[in-house]
Amino acid sequence: MDLLGFARGPALKVALAVFCLGVVWRIVGFALLRIRGDLSVPRASIFKFMTGGFITIGSRSWPHREFIARTGPGEALGYSYHIGLFAVVLLFTPHIIFLGSLFGITWPGLPSSLITMISVLTMTLFVAVLFRRVTNPVMRMLSNFDDYFSWFITMLVLVTGLAATAHLGAPYQTLLGLHILSVDGLLIWFPFGKLMHAFYIFPSRGINGAILARKGATS
């Protein structure tokens, strides 16, 4: 079995299994902890605090006016590379074909040249994000192995993907094999580190927003 066959055969199967089981366990593992009720009398109706939760899911996507001067640039950087990642993962035609083989649905993609440009831009933003993490005293203090390894494995996927698309440095089959192997690595790492925020972000905003809305508090 060659590298490509291994990467998209047994390695991918193992990676997907680890990903699925790991994600489920990571969520079930804490969700099974005790859930406390709140015996205080709510200020708002159930409808209002549910609505508050949904509103917070949206409203936390961008800083409140009071914070924007301090956090706007950093958040813009963060959202920009996320948008770039989504575009590359979901709108590159070979990815759409691959995802279609898994889920049975496909959608129109963007031209390869545009995806290449987005990839380069995303990688540039990724470097900027790393630079910010190591130079910003707060982020540097908070960062640990998880932050750097999650950055590394995601960047590796981007680099190998771009190399495969541009046929840089090795035969295409090898480059594609390396790219898929890096994706396998990302899938395996995903449940163990901060990449899990992809699953947490909306429930976290929604639940905390609903709790604050229940009190009529600012969210």
Binding site: L33, D38, T56, F67, T71, K194, Y200, T218
Partner: protein, 441 residues
């Protein structure tokens, strides 16, 4: 101090001396009791973006990264990952998370108590929606169980639990309350066997602002409502809440509950005290173990009810241009944002809002018990300069608030900085502008 109990860190009550091992064990036990699915979810969700620092006045004032709000719970995040998270065995096996040490906890005393007002501003900035302030409150509980509550808070909480008063006074508060009634010529309803409303009072008002106590009594007298103070539960503040002693918090609030039940009160009226409102309105039922058998209302909420029912009528206040300090526990965390503004509007006050107001207001710097911690004063003064600048910037002639701890903190700033503004009580302004039947005016 003997070697067996280790060296007592600088800011601990002697009763809190214990071995490093016992300290860590206490913290971990307290932490284990606190951790539930919601707290775990919050700890899981942090992406280390550090944005919460940009909401915290301690960080903004100093640019010192250790004041990043989520960093203040780092030992407990570490303990969660190592001991309770879904992959805890992996973290232990690979040594990715070290055990929390007594030294670490002792250092964190400064971060969790001296440099955090539990004001909750950080909870509004997190892109993941994490309520960081709730995590900090839980971390304080664990610190209390580790014997690491600052001595000022510990001693006041212990005294309040045992006697009902956070500190000994030359005269019991009951007598001081009656003396205030006599001095301000207002009836103090005390120890009525039955009443619709039970009143309590910030001890800060008894000791520093007796006119605010008189204002409360005067408004109630004017409205002619059935109400009473109770000698056995006069104090609104809860130092157990500040110190992180959950059972002490329950016991202290328990006095108020017991007395409210004894006099068959339908409402427990919380005076101008932000954290007392938060503790009683939002936390007490859980500590009590069942819904409270009466309503908990802040005095401004109650007055707006009376205003809207047409029972409270107010004249135009001669306040000129005014600004208002939103008490964090009342407004941001408590949800009472509109009531103070409705009262000001009813008195025809031209309100010049602070640049950061309502739910986004900066804390006065004294909340969370910080104003009581002596060694925290220099840092507190640096943090509160942000607030003082905002107040000055409004050019307001009258500066109002609805929390006696905020008021005390700003009065302290007058002394420390030679600041020219004077904080006034919104309730006192209401009491001075009563009109209609029964009014003294």
């Amino acid at each position: 101090m003997s070697d067996t109990v280790g060296t007592l860190p600088a800011n601990l009550a002697p009763a809190e001396a214990r071995t490093p091992e016992a300290r860590v064990a206490g913290a971990m036990k307290g932490f284990a009791q606190e951790i539930g699915a919601l707290s775990a979810f919050r700890l899981e969700s942090c992406i280390h973006c550090g944005i919460c620092a940009d909401a915290c006045h301690f960080y903004i004032a100093t640019e010192d990264p250790q004041y990043t709000p989520i960093w203040k719970v780092e030992p407990f995040k570490q303990a969660y990952k190592r001991e309770a998270s879904p992959f805890a065995p992996l973290f232990r096996l690979l040594g990715l998370k070290r055990e929390v040490t007594a030294d670490q906890l002792e250092h964190w005393q400064h971060l969790l108590f001296d440099s955090c007002n539990m004001c909750g501003r950080c909870s509004l900035i997190c892109p993941m929606g994490i309520d960081v302030a709730s995590l900090i409150e839980q971390a304080r509980h664990a610190m209390f169980d580790a014997g690491l509550a600052p001595k000022e808070l510990y001693q006041k909480a212990a005294h309040q639990r045992d006697t009902g008063q956070p500190e000994a006074s030359t005269e019991p508060y009951r007598d001081q309350l009656l003396a205030i009634g006599a001095r301000f010529k207002v009836n103090i309803p005390l120890d009525e066997p039955e009443a619709d409303i039970m009143l309590c009072v910030p001890r800060t008002d008894i000791e520093h602002y007796p006119s605010a106590v008189a204002a409360l009594a005067r408004v109630m007298q004017h409205l002619g409502v059935s109400c009473t103070f109770r000698s056995d539960a006069l104090v609104a503040e809860n130092y157990g809440y500040y110190a992180g002693g959950k059972t002490w918090q329950r016991d202290i609030s328990g006095r108020l509950i017991e007395q409210a039940v004894a006099c068959k009160a339908k409402t427990l009226l919380v005076p101008e005290c932000g954290h007392a409102y938060s503790a009683l309105r939002w936390e007490e039922a859980d500590l009590y173990g069942k819904p409270l058998p009466f309503k908990v209302r802040h005095v401004t909420e109650f007055l707006v009810d009376e205003l809207e029912a047409g029972r409270l009528k107010l004249t135009r206040a001669a306040a000129g241009k005014a600004t208002f300090q939103d008490p964090c526990e009342l407004v941001r965390k408590g949800g009472v944002k509109d009531a103070p503004r409705t009262l000001m509007k009813a008195m025809g006050i031209e309100l010049n809002e602070l640049e950061d107001h309502g739910g986004f207001a900066f804390c006065c710097g004294g909340g969370g018990g910080v104003v009581d911690i002596e060694r925290a004063a220099p840092l507190r003064y640096r943090a509160m300069e942000i607030k003082l600048r905002e107040i000055d910037h409004t050019g307001a002639e009258t500066f109002l608030t609805s929390c006696s701890d905020c008021r005390r903190t700003f009065d302290d700033a007058k002394t420390h900085f030679g600041w020219k503004n004077t904080p006034h009580s919104l309730l006192e302004l209401v009491a001075n502008n009563l009109t209609g039947a029964g009014s003294r005016t």
